[in-house]
Point group: C2
Chain length 253, copies 2
């Protein structure tokens, strides 16, 4: 059995705890939190550590705290020479204190509190300073996910930016769609099958193949009509820049 | 049985033909196309009309041609006083020649050639000049879809703009994500579960509730890192405007 401890109690930590609970090759040794009470619904009381000094021996420590706290938490850990990983998309492996062996265990997904996810489907991006540690990470990761990727810190940074585009920014476009519906007494529900199919299409087609719409077919009439329709300057600006960007892609072909 | 004829042979026309084939309260009388050969795989030869003058009597004629051709096709139809609808999100009902009774039958979905869709899940937006015709449209629409909406021409215009945001523009963000992956030797597959879950989240949460990321939490460090990482000016500009727009939403609360 591989002994795993988790440092943190937020969204990612909670989803990892749930995922490891189903794994038959790992044992959850401890979970650390500054607010132990927040863990009581998920973790047996005797496995909760409320101080970093109380961390028992484990084969791997997974730091799942906010980006800004990662370096500091890794410095405050008392022991040395053990395998410690963080779960962040945007922080380099080297941000971890080098008194321990370092690595990254980054599950690329948007986690919602109290909404279970199928961890098997979540890609986990792994990185380690040496091959032995990488093998341990791989062994642990494959018990909870079917999709493992070896991704260096620079690639992970790229991936995190790409994730902001396809997740944060996409959700914001949903928000604008929702706002336009609300302003015109249209239920947002009417857009949901379109949202689902838009995502579904790129599971099998490339985004380039899936692109449709007035910008793609250079339909200036419709574009003008839409710009006249939009009264919010911010929505107009976003419409213009994305329309232009789609048109530029067309010219590159 | 309600007698339906379809005018057009493109994506929407083909998906409507397939949907009506399963309906037990409609009969497909004819399909008109300037290129009858394109219809042969889907329609029996004796039901194909290659001239508008060859259109037989039907209870409803559905014009599923490109936006720019709708008005002209409706003018070239020889008969008068019958129910004629178009399927466009961006064209007003009044664009149809008023020698016939007019309406709109707009299925709000992105259709891909040769990719079957579950029409039952597709919202159909209906509009008609009078309640009797509306009832006929409703009767026909509900045999192919479970989601009918009465939507006026002005609302339909709003809906079409909203659809551009949640479909065309969202797909373009997928494209940018794909481009960033390609430039950094990362398989696009790694983003697919995130894309799927991003769409999935707004099926039950509002986009406002689902919003996460550096812009949402005003994380200037990460935003700076991302902007430094992006070298493509167009990607940088899109990153900035969408980040700012998410931040402005935060201030409105």
């Amino acid at each position: 059995m591989v002994k795993v401890s988790i440092i943190g109690s937020g969204n990612v930590a909670q989803h990892l705890i749930a995922a490891f609970a189903k794994s038959n090759i790992t044992t959850l040794v401890q979970v650390y939190s500054r607010n132990p009470d927040s863990l009581l619904p998920f973790v047996e009381a005797d496995k909760i550590a409320s101080s970093l000094d109380a961390l028992a021996e484990a084969d791997i420590y997974i730091i799942a705290v906010s980006d800004l706290a990662i370096a500091e938490v890794s410095r405050h850990i008392a022991f040395t020479g053990r395998l410690i990983v963080h779960t962040s998309g945007s922080i380099a492996m080297e941000a971890l204190d080098n008194k321990n062996r370092r690595g990254v265990f980054y599950p690329l997904q948007t986690f919602t509190k109290n909404k279970p996810v199928d961890f098997k489907e979540i890609p986990i991006c792994l990185e380690a300073e040496n091959d032995t540690d990488y093998a341990v990470l791989e062994q642990v990761a494959k018990t909870i996910s079917d999709h493992l990727y070896r991704i260096g810190s620079q690639q992970r940074k790229a991936l995190h930016v790409a994730a902001v585009f396809v997740n944060n920014f996409t959700n914001h476009l949903y928000r604008i769609g929702n706002d336009i519906c609300t302003e015109n007494d249209i239920p947002f529900d009417i857009l949901k099958p379109l949202i689902a199919e838009t995502a579904n299409k790129v599971m099998t087609l490339t985004p380039e193949q899936a692109q449709t719409g007035p910008a793609k077919r250079n339909d200036q009439n419709t574009i003008e009509t839409h710009l006249k329709f939009l009264t919010d300057q911010n929505q107009k600006d976003i419409y213009k820049i994305l329309t232009q960007s789609i048109m530029n892609d067309g010219k590159k072909l």
